[in-house]
């Protein structure tokens, strides 16, 4: 699977042809390592300076599979390089040194190194470095699946009669996914404090937490961001730098994935513009398709919540894995379209959020829909839409894309996408269910804000086609799934998830949570398209929260059944399955 995603395809059977970048200021070692790696049938590129290595990596992100770097280098600390690579490229990095002191090795691990080799290095140690590449991919897929699972669950809950366990509607998939994830994570998402102490240390990135994270990221400036800075800003005592670093990595991955998607979509979608009603149908189905939530693909997981419209994109993670990778790497094109949307400075008033859809605006929106059915990024970008977004109201949510926004004026739906977990690109479209620390996902947030801005929203809404998705970032109060006094029932349905808060808003503001409520049920009025992939992208700006951690089936419980009833009728549980992140 590795081969697929790379733009520089490797034709040899894995692991042969593994593309390794070796960085060492010691020329003698560089020669030796090169020879050793070549003997392993790997494709080697050597670099004597960390700066050069970074340039090479940035130039073509998909050009290398793994990086091996010495710890002590004159121009840059090896650990710093390690961090950069992890954050920007998300490649596995192996550290080397003649010094094997525990403190150094520890530092390596803390900075994210997947291994630490002592010089003199033996050939046999190099032979197996491919395992790190493989492992990383598997983890990525898993993360996405988790998110998808969560989303699914969420959606399921929202839309369907809630089963007591909330998991499944469709049952198995979700449950199994969830269980698997749970087993893997053993994480009690109600107790974030655990994360740092458990050896698994899997932080539960609640919507709130993710929101803080995104806020910090935006404050620092996306480009200048670093785990330490974020951690300091977030001011969450129990959170470790490591937690933030890995979360950031996923966030970036998510964003880039979105971007890719957007790019892809643009090309694909072409036609869908959110505005036209016809689109709605298209959109809706789009959603539906995408929503495949039908779990078929857990991979689809990514529910993109595009800006206003939740676009549920089903992406198949598995196949995606590679693709994802590939896409991501290939994207290149618009840097961030999706990202653009998403990452609007959280500080920015909702407008940015509204952007969601926008950013994808044109292409994006279309893309999003286009995506339906196509591979959506497996990761859901969380469309964490900062609450501020709610206020956006004025900003037309660009639900453009795909959302068939039928939002009627005044009916703006705010789709709040809470990105619960920032997991990178996973857009759990649906769920913006807010996942609270306690695991419940709250979707509401948007509405809350909407409420306040109520008026605004509504007015704005008119412009917005799509639902305004306001991601209240962490506000999602799942509990809230308050009945949404939505204008349209359909919307309601959709909003179901997040709508709770929406209920307040008279206007059609419905915050639609991630819940990727199958938009299918939407009626014409609201075509909430949960664009899975897109939404996230859109909201990403806001918060990419790694949902995985958060979501658990319980979240869905809150959503009032009635809200979901319509939603799901057509959609399958699959959506819901996706919705839950079990991180």
């Amino acid at each position: 699977m590795m081969d697929n995603g790379f733009s520089s395809p490797r034709h040899d059977p894995f692991p042969a042809g593994l593309r390794v970048l070796v960085v060492d200021d010691d020329l003698t070692w560089l020669k030796i390592l090169e020879k050793m790696l070549k003997k392993c049938s790997y494709e080697v590129t050597t670099c004597g300076l960390a700066i050069d290595a970074l340039h090479l990596l940035r130039e073509r992100k998909d050009r290398y599979d793994i990086v091996i770097s010495d710890v002590n280098m004159p121009d840059m600390d090896g650990f710093k390089l390690l961090e950069h690579v992890g954050l920007e490229m998300d490649l596995p990095v192996i550290m080397m040194s003649v010094d094997g002191e525990t403190s150094q090795v520890m530092k390596g691990v803390q900075h994210g190194a997947c291994d630490y080799l002592l010089k003199p290095i033996r050939m046999k140690e190099l032979r197996n470095i491919w395992q790190h590449v493989l492992r990383k991919k598997i983890h990525e897929v898993r993360d996405i699946e988790i998110l998808e699972g969560m989303e699914s669950i969420q959606m399921t809950r929202n839309g369907l009669d809630q089963s007591s366990d909330g998991h499944l509607l469709c049952g198995e998939d979700l449950t199994s996914v969830k269980k698997r994830k749970e087993a893997e994570n053993k994480h009690d998402d109600k107790d974030p404090g655990d994360s740092s102490s458990t050896k698994k240390a899997r932080v539960v990135w609640s919507v709130d937490l993710h929101q803080k994270f995104v806020k910090a990221v935006n404050q620092i400036g996306f480009d200048k961001v670093g785990p330490k800075k974020i951690l300091d800003l977030m001011n969450v005592p129990w959170l470790t730098r490591e937690n933030v670093a890995s979360h950031l990595q996923k966030y970036r991955l998510y964003l880039s994935r979105l971007q890719k998607e957007n790019d892809t979509k643009t090309s694909v979608g072409g036609g869908k513009h959110s505005d036209s009603p016809s689109r709605d149908s298209a959109g809706s189905f789009g959603i539906q398709n995408s929503i495949n939530i039908q779990r078929n693909d857990i991979s689809n997981g990514s529910y993109g919540f595009s800006g206003n419209s939740l676009i549920v994109r089903n992406v198949e993670p598995r196949s995606q894995e590679n693709e994802r990778k590939g896409i991501v790497s290939k994207t290149a094109v618009e840097p961030k379209r999706a990202l653009a949307v998403e990452v609007p400075d959280p500080c920015k008033p909702k407008s940015s959020e509204m952007e969601f859809g926008h950013s994808f605006t044109s292409p994006a929106s279309e893309v999003n829909f286009a995506e339906f059915g196509s591979n959506f990024p497996t990761k859901f970008s969380w469309c964490a839409i900062p609450q501020s977004q709610l206020k956006q109201e004025q900003n037309p949510l660009h639900l453009d894309a795909g959302f068939s926004q039928r939002t009627r004026p005044g009916k703006q739906q705010h789709i709040q996408v809470d990105y619960p977990q920032p997991s990178p690109p996973i857009i759990s479209g649906s769920s913006v269910t807010e996942r609270n620390m306690d695991g419940s996902v709250k979707i509401k947030p948007i509405y809350d804000e909407c409420r306040n801005n109520g008026s605004q929203v509504s007015s704005a809404r008119s412009t917005m086609d799509s639902y305004q998705v306001q991601t209240k970032t962490y506000e999602v109060n799942h509990q809230a799934y308050e009945p949404i006094s939505t204008n349209t029932s359909s919307l309601k349905n959709q909003a179901a998830f997040n709508l709770s808060s929406i209920s307040d808003l008279e206007s059609a503001q419905k915050s639609i949570n991630w819940a990727m409520s199958p938009l299918a049920t939407l009626d014409d009025d609201f075509q909430v398209r949960w664009v899975q992939g897109d939404c996230y992208a859109m909201n990403l700006g806001l918060q990419n929260i790694e949902f995985p951690e958060y979501f658990d089936g319980g979240l869905l419980a809150d959503v009032p059944t009635h809200l979901y009833e319509n939603l799901y009728d057509s959609t399958e549980c699959s959506v819901i399955e996706q919705g839950l992140f079990i991180a």
Partner: protein, 146 residues
């Protein structure tokens, strides 16, 4: 000398380098890497090491002469030197590096200076021996062992 004899001599010299502790396992690793694509790989690596180390030695000497002594810098240089020495399996040289670093940590400049002298000697001795060795190997017309 006939080839057989030469080969025997090469083998003998090689073995003594290991037995006397001048070289360690890493040298054998290098020999294993030598192949048709790089028939003189070991010799090339050794040359590379010696040209790198000349620069390092120079830096260390300068740092040792400076007052006040910057032990942290000295330690850095020595760390580099040790890493470099490990590349060819220069066992004795590496040991001197470790010793030097200990003195550095202790802030013992005399110890550092003394050790450095020894290090340079070992470094030079190994170079001589390896040069002689490679010459023999060349005379033999093929790489030694493996």
């Amino acid at each position: 000398m006939d080839t057989k004899h030469l080969k025997q001599q090469v083998a003998y010299v090689r073995k003594s380098l290991f037995d006397q502790g001048y070289l360690d396992d890493q040298f054998m690793q290098l020999e294993d890497l030598q192949d048709d694509a790089n028939p003189n790989f070991v010799e090339e690596i050794v040359s590379s090491f010696y040209s790198d180390s000349a620069r390092l030695i120079h830096n260390i000497e300068q740092a040792l002469a400076r007052r006040p002594v910057d032990f942290s810098k000295l330690d850095d240089y020595m760390h580099q030197f040790k890493g470099s020495s490990s590349s060819i399996g220069a066992k004795k040289v590496k040991m001197e590096c470790s010793q030097f670093r200990e003195y550095c940590c202790a802030g013992n400049i005399e110890g550092c200076i003394r050790t450095f002298q020894q290090l340079k000697q070992e470094h030079a001795t190994l170079r001589r021996k390896l040069e002689a060795y490679f010459q023999l190997v060349r005379q033999t017309g093929q790489g030694e062992t493996s």
